[in-house]
């Protein structure tokens, strides 16, 4: 896995080697923005574009010129194709109406394909630690940016099924069964060369059934309890995509 990641990043960097990482951002008086390396020749400005071509225009057409900005070409190619995403964070919520907030921990890994910057699909696995249970959902994910730009809000929807770990507490022993998993999220993504970071807020809805050991009073009398729970949590996570 680590080796594959290294290869992936190395290939990405090689393909970017042909592109200038930092270029000039030229804003014209008509509002257009041109990215390239610029030279001022007397009353003309020549701009060398990423494509290798160059254009020249009178200085009067230039509204502003900023040197050394990160070339959008550097991250544009990461907006399509195979992607991997790792996210980690906390889960906040309560098990009972009158209990306090019970923080949990979550970590996920997704592998998918982005058809364009606005939507992609992938398969992922998550590990969610709740106060008295832990779940491992396998899910299908849909995600995408909401806007163009290096910093953009994004959406993400995950749905799948979880497997649960057995629950043990001081006074109860039960067998936990996982169930349906749903987690929509909204957040902000920062695109960089070769990767992007994100901060997200999610809602986690996880079904679980706990079957407790029967309490036998003897003489054929007993009590059996089955708890059907829908865990609802708010997740705050940070992560990286590459």
């Amino acid at each position: 896995m680590a080796f594959s990641l290294i290869c992936l990043l190395w290939n990405a960097e090689r393909s970017l080697a042909q592109t200038d990482k930092y270029v000039d951002k030229v804003v014209l008086t008509n509002g257009s923005v041109i990215w390239g390396l610029s030279e001022i020749e007397q009353d003309q400005v020549r701009i060398y574009l990423n494509s290798g071509d160059s254009i020249s225009m009178p200085v009067e057409y230039i509204k502003s010129l900023k040197k050394g900005k990160l070339n959008p070409e550097y991250y544009q190619h990461r907006l399509e194709g195979v992607y991997y995403q790792v996210t980690t964070g906390v889960l906040l919520g309560k098990s009972y109406q009158y209990s306090g907030n019970e923080p949990g921990f979550t970590a996920s890994f997704v592998s998918g394909y982005k058809f364009n910057r606005f939507w992609g699909a992938g398969l992922g696995m998550e590990v969610d630690f709740y106060p008295s249970q832990s779940h491992i959902p396998l899910f299908l994910e849909f995600q995408g940016d909401l806007l163009r730009g290096r910093v953009t809000p994004f959406y993400q929807v995950r749905t799948g099924w979880s497997w649960a770990e057995e629950r043990n507490s001081l006074d109860e022993t039960g067998r936990v069964e996982g169930g349906f998993f749903l987690s929509p999220a909204l957040g902000v993504k920062w695109h960089f060369a070769g990767h992007s970071w994100h901060l997200q807020f999610s809602y986690v809805r996880q079904e679980a059934t706990t079957r407790f050991e029967p309490v036998d009073f003897g003489n054929g009398q007993s009590i059996t309890n089955v708890e059907d729970r829908v865990l609802q949590r708010m997740g705050i996570g940070v992560g990286i995509s590459f």
């Binding site: 919520g93 806007l147 910093v151 953009t152 009073f217 007993s222 009590i223 059907d228 609802q232 708010m234």
Partner: protein, 439 residues
């Protein structure tokens, strides 16, 4: 990308982020949806009307023993209680081959006492008088109603309106409730929760040679609730002693009701004394005036089920752990009763799980429940544990009657009879097998 677009993009991003943070702050307190399904399997009482119960006595053909309780011996007859159902009568003339004679259908019966040809049996809250001159065809002579209201009260409820609790049937109650709630206790309507220990605790008996001083009466046990002395029948319930004048055997008359306190379990007559066992101690009554037993003294012990037997100047009490009596000790107490006004503990012996006991000429037969039967020479009251004569480990034992080298033992799977002429080498005479309770 134009500046206008970038400005709009930044604005949208900021607004979305703010909305998301606001939502997050709201969701931080979100609570699980939770529902608990509780299935309670319990015993639902089955009531029978008082009139039906009181008209249901029958003398039937012999049948298999099942759920045996107390035993009673009279002459060459053996009376074995089937708890809550009736009495089995055996001809025990040949102890190696007891012959079943009849089964008396008496709902609510647990205790029995016999004098002459008259048997006295409880039937829920009634005292039934039976003519057993022909054991194969027993006849009911009388029924004194509502005289034993406090017997077997634990788990048993009866009233004229509901009738008598005669049986249980398994029932199921399913409740669904929010996990934030918790029911105070399972709701099952009129269900009564009874454990087998509670039902059985007061219906085992242990016997010994009871010097009733009353010719013609039989032998019960130290766990019995019925006893006969002279022309009187004594019946103890959970907190009182009923004294019946049986000068006319066929027509008992209650002449006295004595308050004994709570937790009363057994009565053991010995010469002109009555020893009352309770789950907190032993009470001694002077019975020199059989019509008016008078309290002499008591010996207290830790809470436990405790049958008591006595011989000469000593009483022997077993204490055992168990749900019904909330006991925490398993032991045998030897009490010096030479001065009845102040009984004194001689010594306590740790035991495994002692139930009933019997004594005959310094030979003590002690039932250790699932651990079998132990036989001790108790000539030296301070070294009883050093004088174990024999230990029958493979016969779970609960009840015992010992008289004239004849031992009758209630085991888990049957009624055993032994010859104990050589107490260290019991000789098995016969076994009356009991049917499994699952059958």
């Amino acid at each position: 990308m134009t500046n206008r677009y970038k400005l709009w993009s930044n604005l949208v991003t900021a607004v979305l982020l703010s909305l998301v943070i606001l939502m997050a702050l709201t969701l931080v307190n979100c609570t699980d949806e939770c529902q608990n399904t509780e299935t309670y399997v319990y015993l639902e009482p089955v009531y029978t009307s008082a009139s039906e119960v009181r008209s249901s006595f029958e003398s039937l053909e012999p049948r298999e023993l099942k759920n045996t309780g107390k035993i009673y011996r009279k002459d060459h007859f053996l009376f074995i209680s089937e708890m809550g159902k009736g009495i089995h009568i055996f001809n025990n003339n040949d102890k190696s081959n007891p012959i079943p004679l009849s089964f008396l259908n008496i709902p609510g019966s647990f205790d029995v006492a016999v004098k002459g040809n008259i048997m006295y049996v409880d039937s829920f809250v009634d005292l039934v008088v039976l003519d057993i001159s022909d054991p194969a065809n027993v006849v009911q002579l009388d029924r004194i109603e509502n005289v034993l209201n406090n017997i077997n009260i634990m788990g048993f409820h009866s009233s004229e309106a509901t009738g008598f609790l005669t049986d249980f049937r398994e029932a199921e109650s399913v409740q669904v409730y929010d996990c934030d709630e918790y029911p105070f206790m399972p709701v099952n309507g009129s269900g009564i929760w009874v454990s087998a220990d509670q039902v059985n605790a007061f219906n085992r008996s242990e016997g010994s040679k009871a010097y009733s001083g009353s010719p013609g009466s039989g032998l019960g046990g130290s766990f019995a609730r019925f006893a006969i002395y002279s022309d009187f029948l004594y019946v103890v319930d959970n907190w009182s002693m009923h004294v019946f004048d049986i000068d006319d055997l066929t027509s008992p008359q209650e002449v006295s009701l004595i308050d004994l306190g709570w937790g009363i379990e057994t009565i053991f007559p010995y010469h002109d004394k009555l020893f009352i066992g309770s789950n907190t101690g032993m009470q001694i009554f002077d019975n020199s005036d059989p019509k008016n037993p008078t309290f002499v003294s008591r010996f207290d012990h830790a809470m436990a089920c405790d049958p008591v037997v006595a011989e000469d100047n000593f009483a022997f009490i077993t204490l055992r752990t168990g749900n019904a009596c909330f006991g925490i000790e398993n032991q045998l107490d030897v009490v010096d009763i030479s001065e009845l006004e102040s009984p004194k503990l001689v010594k306590s012996y740790s035991m495994q799980h002692p139930h009933g006991l019997a004594i005959d000429n310094d030979i003590l037969f002690l039932c250790e429940g699932e651990y079998g039967l132990k036989v001790f020479d108790v000539g030296n009251k301070r070294k009883i544990n050093q004088n174990l004569l024999t230990h029958l480990r493979n016969i779970p034992s609960y009840d015992v009657i010992a008289v004239d080298s004849h031992l009758i033992l209630v085991g888990e799977d049957g009624i055993y009879q032994f010859d104990y002429a050589d107490p260290g080498n019991l000789k098995l005479l016969s076994v009356i097998n009991t049917q499994s309770s699952a059958d």
